[in-house]
């Protein structure tokens, strides 16, 4: 309505030459030094970042190269032969899958519920601070102490014996704190206003969690659980004294070779055995085992990360 007067444009700056030299901004020695230092710092830190990544890529390349003669589908589905000096890794592969799935079937529900408690129910008091502290400490317990615990608690005290179930439970307790932490993060990323809106229409706490919090955070929770698949698959120490053995005879290619109260082989343990305990093993065999373990772990991780990136880009708030 009112034709507001457009503000006057600032006067155009005169060209540099028009400014008398004593009034120009001059690059002093101080400025030059500081810019030089900035450049050096950037180069140094950049080199450091590259220096921790590049050698690893070279090493992985080297592992693949050494493993190449043994890598084939046959290697995956064949059983170890000639006192583990030849053959494949089938029983170890299946054993690892058993351990990972059973341990996550135990730790994921407990971990997710614990995280729901900590994020949705717990008030900020001394008791819940102790729970937080316990989660942090549980995450820091060395894997070999988990092994001792599994041996003392599951194998002997609970009388489960050296078995898949003992090893899986030990792994489950090991992965628990990380699942709690990642789930909490996912739950905490749901804005408080979503919950408040739900409470305001009369929903109870649990109804809110079920209808609002979980659907909005399920992708984050899942990513956290998937990441634990790779961690559980790679662990060796906690399972080596609770239910995983050097060698177990299994039919070639059978899908469900183990009972839960039996011992089994596992990929990580198999790599340890091949590289330290078996004399005159075929050269490329331990390398191939390492590459298979590494590839499966990295593939699981990469897919979890890809899922996370995709879901984050779709996030509506």
């Amino acid at each position: 309505m009112s034709s507001s007067t457009t503000p006057a444009l600032p006067p155009v700056l005169p060209p540099v030459e028009a400014i008398p030299p004593e009034m120009r901004f001059v690059e002093t020695d101080l400025v030059r030094t500081k810019l030089k230092r900035q450049k050096i710092a950037k180069a140094v830190f950049g080199t450091m970042s590259v220096a921790m990544i590049l050698p690893l890529l070279l090493i992985i390349g080297y592992l693949v190269e050494r493993a190449w003669p043994s890598l084939s589908l046959e290697f995956l589905i064949d059983v170890p032969r000639a006192g583990m000096k030849e053959g494949g890794i089938w029983p170890a592969l299946i054993g690892t899958i058993y351990l990972v799935f059973i341990s996550l079937a135990v730790s994921a529900p407990i971990g997710i519920m614990a995280a729901i408690y900590l994020n949705e129910y717990a008030k900020d008091n001394w008791f819940n601070r102790i729970i937080n502290l316990a989660v942090i400490n549980l995450a820091g317990v060395p894997s070999i102490v988990h092994a001792l615990f599994g041996l003392g608690a599951f194998v002997y005290a609970a009388n489960l014996g050296y078995s898949i179930i003992s090893a899986s439970l030990t792994l489950a307790i090991m992965t628990l704190p990380v699942i709690i932490a990642s789930t909490r993060e996912a739950l905490a990323s749901v804005p408080m206003s979503f919950r408040e809106a739900c409470w305001n229409v009369g929903a109870t706490r649990w109804q809110t969690i079920k209808a609002i919090v979980l659907p909005n955070s399920i992708s984050g929770i899942l990513t956290g659980v998937i990441l634990q698949v790779s961690r559980a698959a790679g662990e060796t120490a906690p399972i080596m004294f609770t239910g995983v053995v050097f060698y177990k005879a299994v039919e070639r290619g059978t899908l469900l070779p183990y009972y839960l109260n039996e011992q089994c082989m596992a990929l990580s343990m198999h790599l340890y055995t091949l590289s330290t305990q078996v004399p005159d093993v075929k050269e490329s065999l331990p390398f191939a085992t390492a590459v298979v373990l590494l590839a499966s772990v990295l593939m699981v991780n990469a897919s979890a990360i890809a899922l996370r990136v995709y879901l984050r880009s779709r996030k509506k708030w």
């Binding site: 400490n137 060395p142 615990f149 003392g152």
Partner: protein, 304 residues
């Protein structure tokens, strides 16, 4: 309002919800239960050793003589193992801390958005490499490199273990250090830039002092991982139980010792129990390290 118009929920839903909330509460406490259970069960296996006539706590902690299976004169001193653990850890941290913090600073302050996201993903993938694969790398690749470069007769030694541990703890230090730097409010950066500071001046004068505690916590968590690491040091450090004299000596750590000997110790024997005692010692060390890290982090939160 008449009863008909009031929205009611069936009784089973009300009670079902109550039960479920109780289950959730129990799960919430599970972390405490498990930490206590770990200490209890490990200590329970170790406890009979305390009354064994061959065992004294002083010898256990301060004697370097570890002869748990000797017929004539059993000695259970873990000093050499403790020294082994700490010397490998310290050497690893000397290598890992500059790289870890440098990487964290670069990712957080110096590089563009695209590079940042890529580097973070690569770091996350590095953190996922299983420890047994690291041990294998130490055994096959690193030992050859060390033999070639230093001329040492054996490639599996303290230096090897330390390099492997450093590579393993760098991702943790980077990601937690980066979090700590991210937690410094942007207004600090803006104030610095407005005064004409370069990024390096900003990092050195503003961000490092402000994020000091978080970075310390990152280092401590790296230490915690290095102390507790088992398979990698088992495969990469060699197996001599003695106090190392140089970085090319082979050493044995507390964790590797348990992993190497537990399989041979008959259940219930003094040897077996003393290994559990080592577990209690290890649990206590990492407990203290993690607790300190947590208190340090809490320190920043209170201030911020």
């Amino acid at each position: 309002m008449s009863d008909k118009r009031r929205a009611t929920r069936p009784l089973w839903a009300v009670y079902g919800e109550k039960t479920l909330e109780w289950v959730i509460r129990v799960a919430g406490v599970s972390a405490i239960i498990f930490v206590v259970a770990i200490f209890f069960f490990v200590f329970r296996e170790a406890a009979p050793m305390l009354v064994n006539k061959d065992f004294s706590l002083k010898e256990f902690l301060f004697s370097p003589e570890w002869y748990p299976t000797s017929m004539s004169n059993v000695r259970y001193g873990t000093l050499a193992l403790t020294v082994g653990t700490f010397s490998v850890t310290i050497l690893a941290m000397v290598i890992a801390v500059p790289f870890g913090l440098g990487g964290a600073i670069f990712i957080s302050e110096f590089c563009g958005h695209k590079t940042k996201e890529t580097l973070k993903i690569v770091i996350e993938l590095l953190a996922a490499i299983p420890s047994v694969v690291w041990g294998f790398i130490g055994l096959t690749v690193m030992s050859k490199i060390i033999m070639k470069v230093t001329g040492a007769p054996v490639g599996v030694n303290m230096l090897n273990g330390a390099i492997i541990l450093a590579l393993m703890s760098v991702p943790i230090i980077v990601s937690i250090g980066e979090d700590a730097l991210k937690a410094v409010p942007d207004s600090y950066r803006e104030a610095g830039l407005a005064l004409g500071a370069t990024q390096w001046q900003l990092v050195y004068r503003v961000l490092l002092p402000a994020a000091k505690n978080g970075l310390l916590a990152a280092v401590l968590l790296g230490v915690g991982r290095a102390v507790g690491e088992t398979m990698a040091v088992l495969m990469a450090t060699g197996h001599a139980v003695h106090i190392p004299e140089g970085i090319l000596d082979s050493v044995r750590t507390l964790t590797a010792n348990i992993a190497a000997e537990l399989g041979e110790a008959p259940a219930g024997s003094p040897h077996y129990r003393v290994l559990f005692m080592t577990g209690v010692l290890l649990f206590s060390i990492t407990f203290v390290v993690n607790l300190t890290a947590d208190l340090v982090v809490r320190g920043i939160r209170k201030k911020g």
